[in-house]
């Protein structure tokens, strides 16, 4: 099967927002990420597919400044991540399958806590607005442990986007979502993409990824084995192609 091999011309047109150069991450003798280069501009949505153990989460961790690369560097709008508290952290929002929420704080308190860490001034108006956006207005005063899994996921989404980041990093965000939470997430992600934010999403869910992404990459054993724009992909044939890439047959 012949799939896209041409590079994405749109990527060069917009300003580069997040950029990775020769990223390597080792855990002792284990190499999780083995030399990855990436550059994403405004409005680009990259879906990273790949089998377990391909180093996808490590890559995402380095892009978000949670993991220090063994070598190589990440730049956000030209500013290299220096692992201090730099202002660049305000530009990044992270949503993982873990919620980063405190079970004994209310939905409102969780957002307030993060808002204060980010130094946001308008929390009294911002928090109700964001809770409304994810449909949790009437749960604002509920402790997180009293919320359903789907509600928690929606709250996590509100938390990740509270400070309006330019770059949004998502690690398996659709895992375990009920249909209504998944649809809220899908809408929000589409909005981000159309609002010229930059999104990187790691996922196993090929159809969800293809539906949202502008670019797709397949990561195998710490390297990007294949990369291309979604426009040139045949949706039906992609799964077969994916398996071929993963098994190293292309």
């Amino acid at each position: 099967m012949e799939l896209a091999t041409e590079s994405a011309p749109a990527a060069e047109a917009t300003q580069t927002v997040i950029e990775a150069r020769a990223l390597v991450r080792e855990y002792g003798p284990v190499v999780a990420v083995d030399g990855i280069d990436l550059a994403l501009g405004e409005g680009e949505f990259l879906a990273i597919f790949g089998p377990n153990g391909a180093g996808k989460s490590s890559l995402l961790g380095m892009l978000g400044g949670a993991l220090r690369p063994t070598s190589g560097e990440v730049r956000i709008r030209g500013v290299p991540l220096d692992f201090s508290a730099g202002a660049w952290r305000r530009r990044v929002g992270v949503l993982s399958h873990k919620g980063f929420l405190y079970a004994h704080l209310t939905a409102e308190e969780n957002l307030r806590f993060y808002g204060r860490l980010f130094g946001l001034k308008d929390l009294d108006s911002r928090i109700p607005e964001r809770l409304a956006r994810v449909g949790l207005t009437n749960r604002a005063r509920f402790e997180v442990r009293q919320l359903s899994h789907g509600m928690r996921q929606r709250l996590s989404l509100a938390r990740a986007l509270l400070h309006d980041p330019d770059v949004v990093l998502l690690d398996e965000p659709f895992t375990g979502l009920d249909p209504s939470a998944a649809s809220v997430l899908r809408d929000v992600l589409r909005e981000l993409r159309d609002g010229y934010r930059t999104v990187v999403m790691v996922t196993h869910n090929l159809s969800e990824g293809l539906a949202l992404a502008t670019r797709v990459t397949i990561q195998v054993e710490g390297r990007l084995a294949w990369e291309g724009p979604t426009t040139s992909l045949e949706r039906e044939g992609f799964e077969g192609f994916y398996h071929k890439v993963v098994e190293g047959r292309t």
Binding site: A66, S96, A103, R159
Partner: protein
């Protein structure tokens, strides 16, 4: 600077609010303080040993062991649902995170220290001596030095697969000087020695707490980085 202080305040607010909701750690430490007093009552032959003579050491040992119960869990609460990762990815400087958590732990431990003093006073009819104010100051400085070291090393031990078991092994050798100074102050004040005699030790307790806080603030980032 005001943002830095507000980030510290946010972490203290969050930790104390969590404690207010769960009451896990304060209950554990408080119960330990009272039960330790009860056990000491039965392990001392009060016909031969006057509680007044040994109380100083027992008070400080109860503070150290009780403190470990509470501080040891400080990062366990954060690890659930990955909350700490979220905090570390925020723009809050790592030293602000450390100072916030340490001060929140202090806010929990200091009342426990006063409770320990109260328990010993009540159970053993201790004479608090020439200057109870200095006693409280010494316990406060001791509690501060203790949380400064043990918050840092609680972060270390929670990052290992040994978890909380490792914490006492790491902090006990380091806490020896603090216990020596603290017992010195407490013992002397309780037998009615003049305040001037213990001021040197109080200063050493303060220096210990400050050095521990500074070291923790600088080194914390190397512990939590991934």
């Amino acid at each position: 600077m005001s943002l830095y202080l507000d980030q510290i305040r946010a972490i203290i607010w969050k930790d104390l609010l969590l404690e207010l909701r769960t009451r896990e750690r304060i209950a554990a430490m408080g119960a330990f303080a009272v039960l330790a007093g009860v056990l000491f009552n039965y392990s001392l032959d009060q016909a031969r040993v006057a509680p007044q003579d040994v109380a100083a050491g027992l008070i400080w040992m109860t503070l150290v062991f009780g403190g470990l119960l509470g501080v040891g869990r400080t990062f366990y609460l954060e690890a659930q649902d990955g909350a700490m990762e979220g905090v570390l990815m925020s723009p809050a400087p790592k030293d602000a995170v450390y100072l916030g958590k340490t001060l929140a732990n202090f806010a929990l431990l200091f009342p426990v220290a006063l409770l320990i003093l109260g328990v010993f006073w009540l159970f053993f009819g201790l004479d608090l001596g020439s200057n109870p104010g200095i006693l409280v100051l010494a316990l406060g400085l001791g509690a501060l030095g203790f949380v400064a070291l043990s918050t840092l090393f609680a972060a270390v031990s929670s990052g290992t697969h040994m978890g909380e078991t490792l914490l006492p092994i790491l902090v006990f050798p380091l806490l020896v000087p603090m216990v020596v100074y603290g017992v010195g102050v407490t013992g002397r004040i309780m037998v009615g020695r003049p305040v001037e005699e213990v001021l040197g030790n109080v200063r050493l307790l303060a220096a210990f707490a400050l050095v521990a806080l500074a070291a923790g603030a600088v080194l914390f980032r190397f512990v939590v980085e991934d």
